[in-house]
Symmetry: C2
Amino acid sequence: MEPELYRETVFELLARVGKGVSSPKRLLLLDILAQGPRTVEVLAHEAGMSVANTSQHLRVLQRARLVESKKRALYVTYRVAGEEVVGFVRSVQQLAEQRVTEIERLTKDFHSSRKGMKVVDRNTLLHRVRDGKMTVVDVRPREEYTAGHIPGAVSVPLHQLTDHLKTLRKNREIIAYGRGPYCVLAMKAVEMLRKRGYQSVRLQEGVTDWKAHGYKITVGDRE
Amino acid sequence: MEPELYRETVFELLARVGKGVSSPKRLLLLDILAQGPRTVEVLAHEAGMSVANTSQHLRVLQRARLVESKKRALYVTYRVAGEEVVGFVRSVQQLAEQRVTEIERLTKDFHSSRKGMKVVDRNTLLHRVRDGKMTVVDVRPREEYTAGHIPGAVSVPLHQLTDHLKTLRKNREIIAYGRGPYCVLAMKAVEMLRKRGYQSVRLQEGVTDWKAHGYKITVGDRE
DNA sequence: TCAGTAATCAATTGAATACTGAATTATAGT
DNA sequence: ACTATAATTCAGTATTCAATTGATTACTGA
């Protein structure tokens, strides 16, 4: 084999990983899978795409060895193929946020278009919680909360938010967080709370980033 | 703007970075640019592709903000848009090498198909050099050697290798290195040396990795 | 101003990709 | 064996992408 052919073939294979993160849908799927394993159906639903399409994107991700699957009974469960993959996807996001200025602009536009939507970073959260000024609310589904959440956070899945309203005091600031910086759940929660007169802000990131920075997390949901 | 639309748009933008590294040719271009800035013509030549095609790939990379260009006189010089980009490309390569098993297999096949092509890692190099058992040879073009090379390495650009043969002793082991793990220059050099009876091996990586691991490098070419 | 050169742009081709909806496969429960 | 369900595969269509070719732009130096 000629060296040139070898190099060409290697780069072809390297590009597989790149192809994995070259589509918005696949990045979204990876973002969801970073939260924990999912079946194809659930993934399709959460990503808002058809099952067939999801399955095909997953095949691409699997070829790139970014995810792996396991069949149990009727269900095929996909998971990220290791913690390095989560880190890699994070690095794509960070590089993009840092360099692709359109993202910053879009985010600014988005927040100003729905004014009142305040965002808060990890440090601010820690300080205000320490001062007892804030209630931290985890809006993800119960299972994800159980799998790992910010210490002291209360589990209030988005669809149960209205029921939990009475337990929340209006004069206390509420900080909601979800899956990540682009988590629609958290955004909707904050919006809803503000509409009803609560002082509510959103944490800039989700649990993945929290954990990635070495902050403590709590597992389980028993008091 | 709806949260869903925002999320969708953000992921679209994130995917730009992914698209940048989703084509073998673009990965190759980035690999070359990691060595230092280049004009379009030079890039096209080194990558073995047409100028127009190169230019178009560069446009994709620029949209992803992975490279940036500067026009001076007739020439447009491209460079990686920061050290983070080099790190990112490295992380793509590492993830792929680690996970895409086909790469390992291919590499093994390649080396066994041209037997005698020995590869050596950084540690081995350091030890044997310390023992005075090895001559280290940098086969890249002079400018790249000047921009930064392994301490103690001699600059012998590939096309001048035959001229330099007389200065090399046959009973002394020669270790050649080039731009990176897939550097065709280094492979050809080793092959040529072995054909002429020299004991020659290739360093597994190039200067970029050497530097990335915090090892010292020497700049300049005056004795 | 004009010839020459580097780079980009525009138009085109064929190949690869994304998505949909229907057919197919695999498995569980009855 | 039969039905229901999860997932994959397939066929078809629309879109995007890679690469080539030739034209165009931008600049230099005579």
